[in-house]
């Protein structure tokens, strides 16, 4: 009966999470009368389409950036055990800092008269300050930073599960390191990569504070649109947008779980 151990949590989640979420989502088809009109209107809603595309595009860029930056860090974390504690602290410290504080930090760094611009100008590399803050690039940088741990940790987990004898065998058979990496390490780490990509992408879809604080003048995300509709008291449409966002995330999660080995990557102590 080990499942009973989870019963309190399941009851709690049903009462305080699942029910309110379902009740809210029901508004998309029942407020004020039963109808699918809210969903039928979506394909013609230019604001929704642009916002959804923008949110998707930002999430994609952030996912690619986190992957390119995160994979080497994950590799270092696993292959350089002496440095692992330090690397882990560097990853986790920002992870434990509030999103609001980190967004403010990026404002200080990327601003027109911020540290980056001042340094580049002092070094004579720039004549006039670049505009980075309040552009989509600032959003992408800040979001990648916030989401990096979600990429690094699953990849590191997958790398740790690779049997070291496989690497020794490869080099014993005369494979140079780059080839061992491409033909042994990289393929075996793909479940971790897939898990990281999924986590980062899905989390990025829901971002609100960071794009609002550091983003460009035309950056509206789906979450902002939902908040706007809630404020406009158009809760039915807000619920419709929430349902679409939730469905998108669920479809992505479902698709990734079907990839071989991805489900395992979420298990922390598989070996």
């Amino acid at each position: 009966m080990p499942y009973l151990l989870a019963a309190p949590l399941i009851v709690f989640m049903l009462a305080f999470y699942a029910l309110p979420v379902v009740a809210m989502l029901m508004r998309s088809v029942s407020d004020p009368v039963w109808t699918v009109a809210n969903y039928a209107a979506l394909p013609d809603d230019a604001v929704f389409l642009k916002t959804f595309a923008n949110t998707f595009y930002t999430s994609l860029i952030v996912t690619v950036a986190s992957l390119l930056l995160g994979y080497p860090v994950a590799l270092a974390l696993v292959r350089a055990p002496r440095w692992a504690p330090l690397i882990l602290v560097l990853i986790m410290l920002p992870f434990w800092t509030s999103v609001l504080v980190r967004s403010y930090a990026w404002m200080v760094l990327l601003g027109r008269h911020g540290i980056l611009n001042e340094a580049l100008m002092a070094a004579g590399l720039l004549e006039r300050p670049m505009r980075i803050l309040n552009t989509p690039l600032a959003t992408q940088i800040a979001m990648s930073h916030i989401l990096l741990p979600y990429m690094i940790l699953p990849i590191a987990n997958a790398l740790r599960q690779i049997d070291p004898s496989l690497l020794r065998a490869a080099s014993g058979l005369g494979s140079p390191p780059w080839r061992t990496f491409l033909q042994v390490t990289l393929p075996l780490s793909m479940p971790g990569v897939a898990a990281g990509v999924l986590l980062v992408f899905v989390l990025a879809l829901g971002f609100y504070i960071t794009p609002a604080m550091v983003g460009g003048p035309r950056e509206i995300t789906i979450s902002m649109l939902i908040a706007q509709r809630v404020d406009q008291l158009d809760w039915a449409y807000a619920a419709t947008l929430s349902a679409v966002l939730l469905a998108t995330a669920l479809v992505l999660i479902g698709a990734f779980y079907r990839l071989p080995g991805v489900g395992n990557a979420f298990r922390m102590n598989a070996r």
């Binding site: 999103v99 601003g111 989390l203 829901g206 609100y208 609002a212 706007q228 404020d231 008291l233 158009d234």
Partner: protein, 368 residues
């Protein structure tokens, strides 16, 4: 899925936090030296017992309200005040619909009260028999009473702008006044400043309403590329001006005191600003609605209204308040006669009827 919001801060919390940090210097305004007027008697009908639960915006606003009228009201009326932060029409909608009304009174606006009232019965009617006769008629409406006058105005960096911009044609004129701009956007339930767009296009102040949305958007086209931020809370333009990200922005006037107190060379240009108001609303079915009504009447009397202006640079709805406010303090309030005549009265009625259309048109324009 919006993990960021659920695990860190909601928008309103963020707003409160930003507000609390930036607005702290409000507490020591120039008028602090002058003695605050005291309300020494009140009509017996305003006295009572028990409590009243009031939702405001927290932070500095709450500090000002505690000193201006929460504490004096407790002493003189015998009714205990319990203050809550985070007033929000969407919460009132949820409270009334679920029959779990946790507030007896909330600080909102005529727009947010009437927008909600349009969709059902969410507010109690105001009992105007006990309201002070000095409260001007334009601030009265059936389901609420306006109680705080503020302004949305042009602010600029004196050190980055040559000369003195006056009105929205100057704000739009990036040749005469080069530099980036910031304006109020719609992402946090905001309202586009279509009035300013029309004034910039040469529409006379008395012809702004009813707003011609097409004309406003056409005017917005001319400034679009220079607006680097469509801000969503009052702290943002203050930060943008401080960090020299923009040379001019629209601002809520009360926020500028903090900026100036911090030594940033920034100035308000009152000309063609919008005069806006906060309002008290009593949620339908509030347990202590009688006490709430008494508090509404007390807080809009001349002296409590004057006291607010001592704490925060916002004006009064009571025509008798100005005589209790020293001239140097009055000169920075949107309700001062000299300033009031430069402002355009925000037309809540137009926005109540047209908000959805205007915001949706603006969004479409912004993303196109």
């Amino acid at each position: 899925m919006s993990r960021q919001r659920s695990t860190t801060f909601g928008r309103r919390t963020t707003l409160g936090l930003l507000g609390a940090g930036l607005a702290a210097p409000f507490i020591r305004p120039a008028a602090a030296q002058a003695a605050w007027p005291e309300q020494t008697t009140i009509p017996d009908i305003l006295k009572g017992s028990g409590e009243v639960r009031i939702a405001g915006f927290g932070g500095t606003m709450n500090d000002a309200q505690v000193k201006a009228y929460y504490e004096p009201f407790e002493k003189i009326s015998g009714i205990k005040v319990r203050a809550f932060p985070g007033s929000d029409p969407t919460k009132i909608k949820a409270m009334v619909e679920t029959g779990n009304v946790e507030w007896d009174l909330a600080q909102l606006s005529r727009g947010s009260i009437m927008n909600l009232q349009k969709r059902g019965d969410y507010f109690e009617k105001i009992d105007y028999d006990i309201i002070d006769s000095g409260v001007e008629p334009i601030y009265r409406f059936e389901y609420g009473l306006e109680m705080l006058v503020w302004a949305q105005v042009l602010a600029y960096r004196k050190d980055l702008v040559k000369g003195e911009p006056k009105g929205w044609a100057d704000f739009w004129d990036t040749k005469k006044f080069p530099g980036e701009r910031a304006m109020y956007g719609t992402t946090s339930g905001g309202f586009p400043e279509m009035e300013f767009a029309l004034l910039a296009a040469g529409v006379p102040p008395d012809k702004v309403y009813p707003i011609d949305i097409d004309k406003a958007l056409a005017s917005y086209d001319k400034i679009k590329k220079d607006v680097v931020k469509w801000w969503d809370t009052g702290a943002v333009p203050i930060q943008l001006l401080t960090d020299r990200e923009v040379t001019m922005s629209t601002v809520w006037n009360g926020r500028m005191a903090a900026l100036q107190a911090a030594g940033v060379p920034a100035e308000i240009s009152w000309s063609q600003g919008l005069s806006k108001r906060d309002a008290w609303g009593i949620p339908k079915g509030a347990k202590n609605k009688v006490n709430a009504m008494k508090f509404v009447a007390y807080s809009t009397m001349a002296i409590p209204q004057a006291r607010i202006a001592f704490a925060i640079p916002y004006g009064s709805v009571n025509s008798a308040s100005n005589e209790y406010i020293p001239p140097d303090r009055l000169s920075v309030l949107p309700s001062a006669p000299e300033i009031k005549k430069q402002l355009v009265n925000y037309n809540y009625d137009w926005w109540i009827d047209n908000r959805d259309a205007a915001v949706n048109r603006f969004n479409k324009w912004l993303l196109s």
